[in-house]
């Protein structure tokens, strides 16, 4: 709108990988720590790996606010009103509601919160209740704002909590702040849900046969989302030329290479950050942050070239 003064929208970057253990969290944590210094822009670090959130172990944020995230699921208000029409059971695709002896029975754990049974129930027996998905934590480190989801143990579905974290992000991120999202590993529903909410994707890849295979799956999964993508090679080693060739084939810029180095492994094992492993790694992280800030532009130019 012409009325509102244009606030420069920050970059929303998802850090993803075909699989866990490739160094996604290591890269996210290091970037979050040096981002503001490298680019003079505020940054929010978001942990969307809600099944195994690990970012806090490296960033050690102070948590200022925590809330329970809930999913709307049906609840039986007055069973005696049930018309035994079975409309709820016939609609539910997840076997989360059934009718026994003329009374509805809800299995909240299996419900996907689609709202269908509530919409079709003619008598109002079913009303909106809720299931706890997990927690959303908000806080800050010395260098970044922090937001994370933590799935309740026993909760089977992570995408609803991821959606809740991203919705919260829209409320709390200060205008113009860049956002770094640690995505869930893999390429299934939770990862795609997270990456869909970003403007650009950084893939962390490892040049081993496992890593290269996982990387190919990730490229296949995220390419259809049409977002600018780039690659960081972690634990660079003998397989690197093959990985580089793959990146060239897919037109993906490789923005940094991190060597396979026992110093890095030990720094990580102590809970240290990548840029703390030595001056060289510090320089790598700063250069990476700067090229990432340019990524949407680089990708646009590459597309038009």
């Amino acid at each position: 709108m012409a009325m509102t003064r244009a606030v420069k929208k920050g970059l929303r970057l998802a850090i993803a990988s075909g699989k866990g253990g490739t160094g996604k969290t290591t890269v996210t944590a290091a970037l979050a720590s040096i981002w503001s210094q490298a680019l003079c822009r505020p940054v929010v670090a978001v942990d969307c790996d809600v099944e195994e959130p690990n970012l806090h172990l490296f960033l050690r944020p102070v948590i200022r606010r925590a809330e329970t995230a809930k999913l709307e699921v049906p609840m039986v208000a007055e069973a005696a009103l049930c018309a035994d029409c079975a409309a709820c059971r016939e609609l539910c695709q997840f076997g989360a509601v059934t009718v026994m002896a003329g009374k509805p029975l809800v299995f909240p754990e299996m419900c996907h919160g689609c709202g269908g049974c509530l919409a079709v129930c003619p008598t109002g027996v079913l009303v909106a209740g809720s299931r706890e998905l997990g927690r959303i934590e908000e806080g800050a480190t010395e260098t970044a704002s922090y937001l994370a989801g933590r799935l309740r143990i026993g909760e089977a579905q992570s995408p609803p909590l991821i959606r809740a974290v991203l919705a919260r992000l829209n409320k709390v991120a200060e205008p113009g702040a860049d956002v770094l999202i640690d995505a869930p590993p893999g390429v299934s529903c939770p990862a795609v849900t997270t990456v869909s909410g970003a403007d650009a994707v950084l893939l962390v890849a490892e040049p081993t046969p496992f890593g290269i295979h996982d990387f190919e799956l990730a490229v296949e999964a995220f390419t259809p989302l049409h977002k600018p993508m780039a690659v960081v090679i972690n634990r660079s080693g003998p397989g690197t030329p093959e990985l580089l060739a793959l990146c060239r084939g897919h037109n993906l810029p490789v923005l940094a290479e991190i060597a396979s180095d026992r110093t890095v492994a030990e720094t990580y094992a102590r809970g240290g950050l990548l840029h703390e492993a030595g001056a060289h790694y510090r320089a790598v992280c700063f250069a990476l942050a700067r090229s990432l800030a340019e990524l949407p532009q680089t990708a646009r130019e590459a597309a038009h070239a």
């Binding site: 866990g20 690990n54 609609l91 709202g115 089977a156 590993p185 893999g186 299934s188 999964a221």
Partner: protein
């Protein structure tokens, strides 16, 4: 029949390399890769003669443009943001976001929405140098991985019975949600592979809690044990206190990557890791054969 599942909570702890090494040591097992989102075990097991089958689960909604009058009811009702306006009087469904909940299908006043079964991936039974192998691949972005995992376990059991195999060894799914729950319910023993790093012990805690929740006995294999000896000692103490046996300790070694690059299991590659893994496997078999510990709280 004992069913052993190798887990780590999170990737990168060496779960698949350990499973492959165990597979090479097993005598008469059915092997299984339950990490259907990002399967890797086949890279080391080199399956051949695969018998593939499409995996069909759930449904996908699609709008028939000839019948849609653009009332927008579907877009208003879809809680997954899968429906959007294509132009003024037509709506479309983005398959990547459709959960197949059927709400739009039932509530569309013009019955303009089709609801067709959805192929979400493929499952296969193959031969390997260590015995039959059940594996799968889920299409990118698909859900229902829990159901696919359950299907694989069913197939593995049937195959074991048919061929007179005496053990099922599975590379488990990562995480703590639906797919991993599917891979552990009713199993005999979970081997939890961990490493002495902050995330290693954090993830171990979460996956162990999950196994306890489902009353599945667990054993711990400590990988890269020498990377952080203090943390390793803390993990061992915590496991001892919880009555969780430690079946082995592996050193940090470049052999893991070298063996992988040679497409060999650590057992085939040899060296100190192979010896430590053989000992761990013997411990695992003992635990899987022993009757479940009875705890009497009184």
């Amino acid at each position: 029949m004992p069913e052993i599942v190798v887990l780590s909570g999170k990737g990168g702890a060496g779960k698949t390399s350990v499973t492959a090494a165990f597979a090479a040591l097993s005598r008469n097992a059915v092997l299984c890769d339950l990490d259907v989102d990002a399967p890797d075990l086949h890279i080391l097991l080199a399956p051949r003669g695969s018998r593939r089958e499409p995996f069909v689960a759930g449904h996908l909604a699609a709008i028939d443009p000839a019948r849609c009058d653009g009332c927008g009811e579907c877009a208003a009702r879809c809680r997954y943001g899968a429906v959007s306006a294509a132009d003024r009087d037509r709506f479309v469904i983005n398959p990547a976001h459709c959960e197949g909940c059927k709400v739009c299908v039932v509530l569309c006043p013009r019955q303009a929405i089709l609801f067709t079964p959805r192929t979400c991936g493929v499952s296969a039974v193959s031969d390997t140098r260590y015995g039959p192998f059940v594996h799968a691949r889920l299409d990118p972005g698909a859900e229902n991985s829990g159901r696919l995992v359950a299907l694989l376990r069913q197939k593995a059991k049937a195959l074991a019975k048919e061929q007179g195999r005496d053990l099922i060894l599975a590379d488990g799914a990562p995480g703590i949600a639906c797919p991993v729950v599917s891979s552990i319910t009713g199993a005999t023993l979970a081997v939890l592979v961990t490493e002495p790093t902050p995330s290693g012990s954090h993830d171990l805690g979460r996956v162990a809690t999950l196994c306890d929740h489902f009353k599945l006995p667990t054993a711990v294999l400590l990988n890269k044990a020498d990377l952080n000896p203090d943390e390793a000692a803390r993990i061992e103490d915590a496991c001892r206190d919880a009555g969780r046996p430690i079946v082995g300790r592996l050193p940090y070694s470049p052999d893991v990557t070298a063996a992988m690059a040679a497409r060999q299991t650590l057992t085939e590659y040899g060296g100190p890791l192979a010896d430590a893994l053989a000992e761990a496997w013997a411990n695992v078999l003992n635990l899987a054969a022993a009757p479940k510990p009875q705890r009497n709280p009184f």
